[in-house]
Each structure stands twice: as structure tokens, then as C-alpha cells.
């Protein structure tokens, strides 16, 4: 084996794998189906952008979790801690840069938000590294213990956040230039949601590129399919896994910043709350599948916003409803990962 990349055929003619296009149609189908119920086109645009933004943020948070599960069969119930951590770091960083965030200039705002995001990713990644070492490594392959131990990590993490930042809810106002809405024709679209969509797409594109066009990505995908085979070819999948775990935690940190700005406040419990949402998303997507996770996240985001507008009471249960429907259709999720 000189190089896995060299022996792989060009990506556009991969043998044997047929792209399953049906789930891709779900998104436009859902969006179009909602249009007649909503009635007004401008409202529909507003809701769709809002839903996509929410979905993108959820995707950023959930993608790491689903990869970690796919690669190492580890389900991290403590993932929520990294989300909360990211959001709290945003509070600290943005709080220290009020001069930049209060300014109307988009550039200055970005100069404040970017360091916040980088700090959140760096710290969440570092904590993820330690978390993997201390909490998860001793219990590989033991599901029951994993669930409990990561839950324990979650409890301790949440309490430590309370120790550092205090137990109260802290407001996290949007930087000045992110507030308000743009008018696209008749439709008002909140600026921050547009930004969220852009960042989400960028993350998705970067992730897609890494996974499908680099050797590391190839190894990760191969590891998700068959870990032992990759190991027997001489690759250290453990090391790869640590990398994926750290990257996943960093993404959760980034997602935490965005989720915090989206909610405009942070609480120590936010990790546990978002956890439920992202579990639903990765179940819908098929545990271990990044593409499924992306579609699942967008479906959840869109449906939450549509139902929130049409029948607010149902919106609280729209996720569960969606999960049940998807599982009735495909019991292993949208894109089942082969070996499970």
C-alpha cells in the first residue's frame, strides 16, 4: 500500500456506490409543501432562511458527534458541554471587546466575532482532547459505560461552567451590525441568519472537501465503513479518531458561539437542551453519516420554523414527529451507514 489516495479511482466515478438522491429531494419538497399553507411568499422566504440558518447551526454542532460515533462507535452524551463552553467563551470574548461589538461597522464586528469563534474552537478542541483522554478512552467498546461516563462528564462540565461563569443566564447580544433585517423584495431576512447560513455552508463545504478530497478524509470515511480493515492496512485509527474528536469538539464550540448568538443568551443548561436536538438530528440522518446529518439538520430547522409559524403548539414536537416519520420510512435513518 503506497498510498490509499493513489489507488482510489477518481471521486466522480467511484464504483459500486450509487448516490441516493431521494433524501436530497426532501428539502425542496418540504419547503414547497409549506408554501401553500403559509400563503404569503415573503413570509415563506423569511421562514425558509430562518429555518436554513437554524439547520446550519445544528449541523455544525451535530456533524462532529455523528462522525465520532461512526468512526469509533462512541456516542458522546457530553457533546453538549462543548456547545455550552463555546457559547460562554463567546460571552467572555465579546464582553471584553464591547468597543468593537457596539460599533456599527461590520468589519469591527467581525473582528470581535472571529476571535470569539477561534477562541471557542481552540478551547473546546483542547478540552475535547482532554475529555477523550480522561473520560472516553478507558471505556472503548463498552456502550453502557460510555453512555454513563459521558453523561457524568456532562454533569461535571456543566457544574464547572457554573463555577467559572456563575449559574445565571447571561445575555449575549448580537454585535450591532448583525442586528436588524435586510429586505429582499417583500421579505425581511434577519442579517444574523444570513451570516449563519454563510458560515454553515462554509463549514459544510470545508468538511465535504476534507472528507471527499483528502487522504485524511478518505481514511475517516473508510474507518466509518470498516475500522478493522483500515487498521490492518497499517493506519493508526486511534490517532485519527483523536483528531476527529478534537475537530468535532471544536465544531461544537463554534456551533455554541453561533447558537448563543442565535438565542442571544447563554445558560449552563443549554448544552443539555441542545443535546436532545442534535441526537434527533443524527438519528434522522443515520448514525455516522455526515450527509444525512446535514439533511436532517436542515429538515429539523425548516420544520421547526414552519410549524412555529403555522401551529406554534405543534412546533415543540415537530422534531419528534419528524424523527418518527423518517424512522418509519428508513428505520436506520436517511443514510444508513452500512455496517450498522
Amino acid at each position: 500500500m503506497s498510498s490509499a489516495a493513489a489507488t482510489a479511482p477518481p471521486a466522480d466515478e467511484l464504483p459500486g456506490v450509487r448516490l441516493d438522491r431521494l433524501p436530497l429531494l426532501l428539502l425542496p419538497a418540504l419547503a414547497l409543501a409549506a408554501l401553500p399553507f403559509i400563503g404569503s411568499l415573503s413570509t415563506w422566504v423569511t421562514l425558509t432562511v430562518a429555518g436554513l440558518a437554524m439547520g446550519m447551526i445544528i449541523f455544525i454542532i451535530a456533524s462532529g458527534l455523528t462522525l465520532v460515533f461512526g468512526l469509533m462507535d462512541v456516542l458522546n452524551f457530553g457533546h453538549g458541554v462543548f456547545i455550552a463552553l463555546g457559547a460562554y467563551l463567546a460571552v467572555s470574548v465579546l464582553g471584553a471587546m464591547t468597543g468593537f461589538t457596539a460599533s456599527e461597522s461590520l468589519v469591527l464586528n467581525l473582528l470581535a466575532v472571529l476571535p470569539a469563534m477561534l477562541a471557542a474552537m481552540a478551547v473546546a478542541g483542547a478540552v475535547g482532547f482532554a475529555f477523550e483522554r480522561v473520560i472516553i478512552r478507558p471505556v472503548y467498546g463498552q456502550h453502557l459505560k460510555q453512555i454513563m461516563i459521558t453523561m457524568g462528564g456532562m454533569i461535571v462540565g456543566e457544574e464547572l461552567i457554573k463555577v467559572i461563569w456563575g449559574p445565571q443566564t447571561i445575555p449575549l447580544p448580537l454585535p450591532a451590525a448583525f442586528r436588524g433585517s435586510l429586505l429582499l423584495g417583500e421579505a425581511a431576512v434577519e442579517k444574523y441568519r444570513l451570516i449563519a447560513v454563510v458560515i454553515g455552508l462554509a463549514v459544510f463545504a470545508a468538511m465535504f472537501w476534507v472528507l471527499s478530497r483528502t487522504k485524511v478524509g478518505l481514511l475517516i470515511r473508510a474507518g466509518v465503513q470498516d475500522r478493522e480493515m483500515v487498521e490492518s492496512l497499517g493506519y493508526r485509527i486511534r490517532r485519527l479518531f483523536v483528531g476527529v474528536f478534537v475537530a468535532g469538539s471544536a465544531l461544537a464550540g463554534l456551533g455554541g458561539v453561533m447558537w448563543g448568538l442565535y438565542q442571544q443568551n447563554v445558560t449552563p443548561q443549554m448544552g443539555a437542551q441542545v443535546n436532545v436536538l442534535i441526537f434527533i438530528v443524527i438519528i434522522i440522518g443515520g448514525l455516522g453519516s455526515v450527509g444525512g446529518c446535514f439533511i436532517g439538520a436542515l429538515l429539523v430547522g425548516l420544520l421547526a420554523n414552519y410549524t412555529g409559524f403555522l401551529v406554534p403548539k405543534v412546533a415543540l414536537f415537530s422534531n419528534i414527529l419528524l424523527m418518527v416519520l423518517v424512522l418509519l420510512w428508513r428505520p436506520q435513518g436517511i443514510y444508513p451507514v452500512a455496517k450498522r
Binding site: 452524551f77 453502557l144 457524568g152 463555577v163 443535546n275 441526537f279 434527533i280 414536537f317
Partner: protein
């Protein structure tokens, strides 16, 4: 031996454990007389309720090896059943019975459906599904505010015999007035003992052995001819039933029920901690875990306050010792116990002999 029969042949099998258990049972049995004060009685009642709840969770987690995060849902159904029935039908024993019956029916049906749908798949999947269902149920309970009282919950009157105003005897008995509170406590205690013994009977029956076989190796259990899905589902339904009864006891004791007292995810985490710290796969672990946890919950904070005050001036340490951060220390204890003594306190004691 009669004692052995009562305990279904599952004796503590360790001197220290026996002593601890006797101390706990004696403490609970005599709580109103030995530990005066409303707070102490409340703690004792809470221990009783949590013993039933944690033991029922252990039936699922420790004996069958299923992780469910929907256990507080069934606890909440029981509590809401009694609360709603007593609010609607007035304080009578018939209402209590109707509430418990309705709650049991709902719990058993729901657990059957969840079990049949999702117990076929892996443990992880079940854990996630139950988490989602439980959070949806909690939202549902707070949304249906006409029935459940929403976030405020329901405050209601209990049958006269149990209400604090009721007095059985003019003269205090051994310095304790014989009022409704005392009667409720002893009712609670008696029901707890009965339910615990029933659960002990279940786990030590041939059925319980099959559950343990499934926990150890479900593939092999299936190969031996046991329909594991059915056993798992029955275990799920039984555990939900006992949790519902524990919830009913909670509502009767508090004369109040709201989402935070019975449905919240915090309670789910508490139960998980109690089971693991006490010892999974043995119902005595539930007794030890619940007692230790509830006592820590109520008295560790006082201790930590002292430590926090003592550490004042040192950076970070007072925050770590802050009384509200008691869960941090129990969380660390939980993580350590999953690693180093996965069988919990009871397993540790029994292992030593």
C-alpha cells in the same frame, strides 16, 4: 429461614452492608421519633420514594442492561395521575385509586409501545430515543396547563386521614403528635417496603435470572431460546410501573406536583447517579445509593458551606466549594465509580467479603 424467604433468598451477604441496611431501615422506620423536625421527616420520605424509584430503574439498567432516560417520565405520570385526580375529583381515597390506576395504565401502555418500537435496536439508540421522548413529554406536560397546571404545577388536598390538620390522638405519642403527616409517612414507608420486597422477588425469580442473562450476553440468551425482545419489554414495562407508583407516593407526600418536582431531567440524572454509586445490578444498591444521595443533597451543602467559608480568600476554591456546587462533587464521584468500582458501593462491599 423466614427472613431469607422475605428477602427472596437475596441476603446482603456482607457484614458491613447488613449493618448499613439495618441502620437505614431502622432510621427510616423510626425517623419521626429519632430525628425530630419537618426537614428530617421530609428527607426520610424522600429517601423512601427514591428507593422505590431507583430500584425500579435498577431493574432496567442494572439487571437488564438497558439505559433509559425516560424513567422520570413514568415517575411524572404517576405523580400527575394522583395530582390531577385529586384536583378534579376532590380529596377522597377513590380519587387516589383512580389517579393511580389511570397513571399505571398510561405508563404501562406507553412503556410497552416504546419498548416494542425501540428495544430491538442497540442500547445507544434506545438511550437517545428515550431522551427525546422524555423531553417531548416534559414539554407536553407544561403546555397542557389546563390539566397539569403548566409550570406552576398543581397543589391539591389529600384524603383527610393524610392531611396535616388531621389528628388521630389528642395526646402526643412518645413526644410526637399523631397527625396526618405521621400517618402519611408510615403509609409511605409501608408501601416502600412492600414494593421493594416485590421487586426483590421479581429479580430473584427465574424471570429475573433471564434478565441478567440478557444483560451479560443477549445473543447467548437468545440462543438458549429466550425471546429477548419480550423479556426486555416486560422488564421495561415493570420498571415503568414501579416508577409510576413511586411518583404517586411523591405526589401524596408533597400534596403538590409540578414539572420540576417529578419530570425534570435533573431528577433523571440524580437517579442515574444513585444507581451507579449505590451499585448496579443489586437492589440493595438502590437503598444505599438513594439514602446516601438524598442525605448528601440535603446535608452536604451545609458541610460545603463550612468548607467554602473556611477557604475564603483562596482563589477558585470557595467557588468550587460553594454549596450549590454539590452536584459537581457527586458527578466526579460518579465518574470515578464507573471506572474504579463499577459495581458501586454494594458490589465493593460484597466483593470484599
Amino acid at each position: 429461614m423466614t427472613l431469607s424467604r422475605v428477602l427472596s433468598g437475596d441476603l446482603p451477604r456482607n457484614r458491613i452492608l447488613t449493618a448499613l441496611l439495618i441502620a437505614i431501615v431502622a432510621g427510616l422506620a423510626l425517623a419521626p421519633f429519632v430525628f425530630p423536625g419537618a426537614k428530617a421527616l421530609n428527607v426520610a420520605a424522600k429517601i423512601c420514594i427514591f428507593i422505590v424509584l431507583v430500584a425500579s430503574f435498577d431493574l432496567l439498567l442494572g439487571y437488564t442492561g438497558i439505559v433509559s432516560f425516560a424513567h422520570t417520565m413514568f415517575f411524572g405520570i404517576g405523580a400527575y395521575g394522583v395530582a390531577i385526580a385529586l384536583t378534579r375529583l376532590g380529596p377522597s381515597w377513590g380519587a387516589v385509586g383512580a389517579g393511580i390506576a389511570a397513571a399505571l395504565a398510561l405508563s404501562l401502555g406507553l412503556s410497552l409501545v416504546i419498548g416494542l418500537f425501540s428495544l430491538r435496536v442497540k442500547a445507544i439508540f434506545y438511550a437517545m430515543i428515550t431522551l427525546a421522548v422524555a423531553s417531548a413529554f416534559q414539554t407536553l406536560a407544561s403546555q397542557l396547563s389546563e390539566i397539569t397546571g403548566g409550570e406552576d404545577g398543581l397543589t391539591f388536598k389529600v384524603p383527610e386521614l393524610l392531611s396535616p390538620g388531621f389528628s388521630l390522638a389528642e395526646q402526643p405519642f412518645l413526644g410526637v403528635s399523631v397527625d396526618g403527616k405521621l400517618i402519611s409517612y408510615y403509609l409511605l414507608f409501608a408501601v416502600t417496603v412492600a414494593l421493594f420486597l416485590v421487586m426483590l422477588r421479581i429479580v430473584n425469580s427465574p424471570f429475573g435470572r433471564v434478565l441478567q442473562a440478557i444483560r451479560e450476553n443477549d445473543f447467548r440468551a437468545e440462543a438458549l431460546g429466550y425471546r429477548t425482545v419480550i423479556y426486555r419489554t416486560i422488564s421495561n414495562v415493570l420498571s415503568a410501573g414501579f416508577a409510576t407508583l413511586a411518583g404517586a407516593l411523591l405526589a401524596l407526600w408533597l400534596r403538590y406536583n409540578g414539572p420540576d418536582t417529578s419530570l425534570s431531567f435533573d431528577i433523571m440524572i440524580d437517579i442515574l447517579l444513585m444507581v451507579v454509586i449505590g451499585g448496579m445490578g443489586t437492589l440493595y444498591g438502590a437503598v444505599i445509593g438513594a439514602s446516601l444521595f438524598v442525605i448528601a443533597q440535603n446535608y452536604l451543602q451545609d458541610l460545603m458551606k463550612l468548607a467554602s467559608d473556611a477557604a475564603a480568600g483562596i482563589p477558585l476554591l470557595p467557588d468550587l466549594m460553594h454549596p450549590d456546587r454539590w452536584l459537581l462533587w457527586l458527578g466526579i464521584l460518579f465518574v470515578l465509580s464507573v471506572y474504579h468500582f463499577p459495581a458501586g458501593i454494594v458490589g465493593r462491599l460484597r466483593g470484599k467479603k
